[in-house]
């Protein structure tokens, strides 16, 4: 049984110009101890999917799913109280903007110990000891004195380490990291990524790593789901995906990696933008930007086609590395 099992998840938001389906029929599963990379451009629905799993979609959002289970618990039928007992304990999340994700009015120590107090019910001294341990584990020097630091006294990298310490405080079985390195300097990005991977390995927790950076996925993920305009368009083990992408979108993303474009004068790009609220095309959502699009791509919804290593939502998939169609 997968740790997290999602079937046909849709999230809709009521906006002034009608309902907007940010996530459209997503199937995802995460195994115990697995690293799943979710890749996609801005607006592809990666973050909304994870927020839906965390139960953090606001009142203006509507979540529909055929199945939404975490460790056998149906997330759809939980009361808010039951939900809170799970969130932050068994499923935890790290966000994109570490500097604004910590509450500026409370010390680092308070914010970490608060999680421990709510979920573990430890006494003051135990909480303090655990908080120091956690800060030490995420590589913060002099953890004891850092407990009384306020967020504005920390750098972005340090703040993200604190966020990670807070997220792993109650030893979650699943950690969702939503673009955890995007807001950080390049040198710090690598450190944070290494930290996440080593924590994942040491603790055997599952990690969902959401990113728009194919390079990050290549280094860390066991399995990858590529999202586009609210849909999963391709999913397979990382190695297979990088060797032989089937969906033209995945192919184009890989082609845009600088290390794969050696010898070319210009880095290849994907023309156009992710379709917005009003211009979702009929048929394959990628067809207006797809070089391989044919008449049948513009009709009806396109299902996922399973193959030997995974599945792709494409009628005319790529056969070889580098976007060469058969």
């Amino acid at each position: 049984m997968p740790l997290l099992d999602i079937r046909n998840l849709s999230v809709e938001f009521a906006t002034r110009s009608g309902t907007f389906r940010a996530v459209d029929g997503v199937d995802l599963h995460v195994e115990e101890g697995e690293v799943l990379g979710i890749v996609g451009e801005s607006g592809s629905g990666k973050s909304v999917t994870s927020l839906a799993v965390m139960g953090l979609i606001g009142h203006n959002g509507r979540i529909v799913a055929d199945r939404m289970e975490f460790a056998g618990t149906d997330l759809r039928s939980l009361s808010p109280r039951q939900r809170r007992r799970l969130t932050g304990k068994d499923v935890a999340m790290v966000f994109q903007e570490p500097m604004s994700s910590l509450n500026p009015c409370f010390t680092v120590g308070f914010q970490i110990m608060e999680t421990l107090k709510v979920h573990e019910g430890l006494d003051r001294a135990q909480r303090r000891r655990r908080a120091i341990e956690l800060l030490d584990q995420v590589g913060i020097p002099d953890p004891e004195s850092r407990l009384s630091a306020f967020p504005h006294q920390l750098s972005g990298g340090m703040s993200q380490r604190v966020m990670i310490a807070m997220a792993i405080a109650c030893s979650p079985r699943l950690l969702i990291a939503d673009e955890p390195t995007t807001a950080l300097d390049v040198t710090i990005q690598k450190q944070i990524l290494d930290l996440l991977v080593s924590l994942q390995r040491d603790r055997g927790m599952a990690l969902v790593l959401i990113t728009h950076d194919m390079g990050v996925v290549a280094e860390t993920a066991h399995r990858v789901a590529v999202m586009y305009a609210g849909q999963v368009v391709e999913t397979r083990p990382a190695r297979a995906l990088f060797e032989a992408p089937r969906h033209p979108y995945t192919g184009a993303l890989l082609d845009a990696l600088p290390e794969r474009a050696l010898g070319r004068r210009r880095l290849p790009t994907i023309p156009g933008v992710v379709p917005g609220i009003a211009d979702r095309p009929p048929g394959c959502v990628f067809n207006p930007r797809c070089p391989k699009a044919q008449a049948d791509c513009r009709m009806g919804p396109i299902p996922m086609f399973p193959d030997e290593t995974g599945a792709a939502r494409c009628l005319h998939p790529l056969r070889q590395v580098g976007g060469q169609a058969a």
């Binding site: 799970l86 969130t87 935890a92 500026p104 009015c105 999680t115 709510v118």
Partner: protein
Amino acid sequence: MFKFIISRAALVIPTFLGITFLSFFLIRLVPGDPIEVRVGERGITPERLAMLREQLGLDQPLWVQFASYVGDILSGNFGTSLVTKNPVLLEFLELFPATVELSVCAILFAVILGLPAGVMAASRRGSFWDHTVMGVSLGGYSMPIFWWALLLILLFSVSLGWTPVSGRLSVMYYVEPVTGFMLIDTLLSDEPGAFRSAVHHLVLPSVVLGTIPLAVIARMTRSSMLEVLGEDYIRTARAKGLSAGRIVGLHALRNAMIPVVTVIGLQVGTLLGGAILTETIFSWPGIGKWLIESINRRDYPVLQGGVLLVATLVIVVNLIVDLLYGILNPRIRHGR
């Protein structure tokens, strides 16, 4: 922290200079000097007028009068009233507790009602409750104080007879002034029922004076709260699995309070301005009524001294608010 206090206190000096200057010259712009006002239509011989003016030093050029006034202030002398011949400072200290009592009750009324109303409106944005709070507070803010006071007096004092019309205490009671605060003095006295009477007298003026601050605090709390509730750290708090009460009441409120405390501090100025009207309507023997009378009598020393003392009070309160702000907001305390 000490440096923070000193830097804030240093800013006070130019404010004092400005107030001294304004209060001195503005009252002298009003036609009629203290003697003319006192004489009224009875008439006075030019010789006697000149003599009286000379006695009061009003025949001197304005800048000489100003210089001697500033000199007096610097040596701690606020002058004596032209009408009662009592020292201004003494009169102020005698009337001051009445105004403080009224203002404190008004601001308590405003905060105790305004904060929760704003928080509730923000956390149920767009609901019936939200619209009610916003509508009522807009009404409260727009209401002229004197009119609102008269409406309340008509309803609660005249029609229903629940509260007295004016004053601080029923004439049935005599209470020895110990602190000057009627609520405390009546408790200290052994007159049964005096405390009740003091409370009864305080209710309407407090509500009237507290209405505008209430409206401002409720609206400010709401908008500040709405902004904070959209912040990333609120999402973090939810992701930690905290209860809605803890998220709103601790994580959001603590941040939302920062601008609200500033506004509450600024309301103290409004409050003293409002106290002048409220005290006049309810015959409340405080600073406001005293100042109004001093203007009518052109009692220059009382007005100048009174305005300066009230200004000092406002400045001190704002200084306290600044310090409080530093405690609430760690980013200020640790300053960069």
